[in-house]
Amino acid sequence: MSASPPVLLRRLSLGGFRSYDGFAWSDPGRVSVITGPNGSGKTNLLEALSLLVPGRGLRGARLAELPRGGAGHWGVAARFSHGEDGFDLSTGTTAETAPGRRVFRLDGQPPRHRGAIAERLSAVWLTPQMDRLFTEGPGGRRRFLDRLVLAAEPGHATEVAAHDEAMRSRNRLLGQEQPDRAWLAALEASMARHAVAVTAARRGLVSRMNRRLQDDPGDADGFPPVRLRLECPIATRLDEHPAVAVEDWLRSILAESRAIDARAGSARHGAHRADLFLSDARSGQDAALASTGQQKAMLIGAVLAHASLLAELAGEAPMLLLDEPLVHLDAHHRLTLLRALAAMPSQVLLTGTDPEGFAPLAGVAAFFRARQGPDGLSTLEATGAAE
């Protein structure tokens, strides 16, 4: 496919969101570096952008945590350009929003279907919390993988949500004394169908990324070439059987495990059991056993490979939100990362405590400094270049 012009952030407005109110930011540039002391509002800004795509944003926050001061309504509104075109995207709550929900507006209108936003904008992020991605449970790794898949397949989030809804419904029904068996079978059919779709998308992305990482391992002094491995019995089945056969198989093992699942209150089989492993393609070392710095380098290597894969496949890379990307990286990896970002055909936002580390981006990036005023409100000030 021919390269499409990048989707670039032109304007961001925040109202009643975290440490921001009445905030407007115009033309942040394709690569923006936001520096400032702890608590100045850098991550809040990245989080606001991460909430423009469906999900819980880069902090995984509950909606109640988002309004300024913990109460009231909040809004994030952005204008993006896409070549000659552009679109407005906003999210937030209003007096008429149901509790526990937020609404989206795409060009001022409610999106026509759940995938409509993902078709226009995708975002991938790395946060300092993700430094623990390899040592914690599989949920975080699965979410990380799904975020990468979603950038390639706009319908993926809908499939994941449908799978989880069918699974929760089945769990609920299994909790009843004499559940309707035909109803259970119908839910298991839904669950199997969506689980296979979700797994096929995850598996497709993992194999495309591995192929790309193998063909183009990067220069020797770049990031360690990583290998991704999806651990999931459904994916293993898909290696050898057509999707419809895997669906039938999953439906039958779900039906067989009703009694066990009813006792456990959860499903033993399904797309929610998948896990993602990263390893160093050269040494074969598993990320979980690597040092924090190596883990970070592997994660960044995966994110950069993903972005260049997408740029190649769809002509468009996701917006990258990298919160404190330089922490834990040695000087060499820092330079490699910044060079790669400078060449990236997409919107990139970076944060750090000091601008010095970002000096190699002088002339490429726009630099901003975040401050928190005595009223607790964050502001942003353009600083020209790295000082």
Partner: protein, 197 residues
């Protein structure tokens, strides 16, 4: 603001779908400014509808006649029944004018999370119609939501003993899409491309 009558009117209007407190105030103001041309005719229409509109005992449609004017229309194909979730979906299909058979309004979809079970659905009259005979095909035109798909699957299972062809609307209904918000062309394509359930 303007007395309890106005407050009551605004409150009732604000409970309507698509209207919040602010738009309800605007609507109330429009009505009250032109009582002869807007408010009273509306009140009269509502009263008449309230007195005469019933749920059709055969298909679940809303009409001032029972059985409804669709069920009693001789020009329609009585051998094909299209099952929809709500009357809004029936209206959407009628607007698109692509289905010339009869309908059955289920009155909801199975939802374990919302506590809606088989006994809450308007199923019995549909089974009776199939028992009467003369029905060749049942089209399940339920939304492409998890609950819609689950209900279609469950219903296909329940209808199996009757030996009728059970098909489902297919293409063009986006995941998570409700039928009554689709455009007519999409709906027509979905109905044409139905597949065996």
């Amino acid at each position: 603001m303007g007395g309890p009558e106005i407050e009551r009117l605004i409150e009732l209007l604000s409970r309507l779908p698509g209207l919040g407190p602010r738009s309800a105030r605007r609507a109330a103001l429009t009505l009250l400014r032109q009582p002869q041309t807007r408010l009273l005719p509306l009140a009269d229409a509502m009263q008449r509808a309230g007195q005469s509109v019933r749920t059709c005992s055969r298909c679940g449609n809303l009409d001032s006649r029972d059985p409804c004017s669709i069920c009693t229309d001789d020009h329609r194909d009585g051998s094909v029944i299209c099952v929809v979730e709500g009357v809004g979906d029936l209206w959407a299909l009628e607007r698109a004018a692509v289905h010339r058979g009869l309908y059955h309004v289920l009155g909801g979809t199975l939802s374990a999370l919302a506590g809606i079970g088989p006994e809450d659905l308007n199923l019995r009259p549909l089974l009776s119609r199939l028992e009467e005979g003369g029905v060749r095909e049942v089209i399940l035109a339920l939304g492409a939501t998890v609950d819609g798909a689950t209900t279609a699957h469950w219903l296909a299972d329940r209808l199996q003993p009757f030996g009728v062809t059970v098909s489902r609307v297919a293409q063009g209904v986006p995941m998570g899409g409700a039928l009554d918000v689709l455009d007519d062309g999409t709906l027509a394509a979905a109905l044409m491309a139905r597949r065996a359930g």
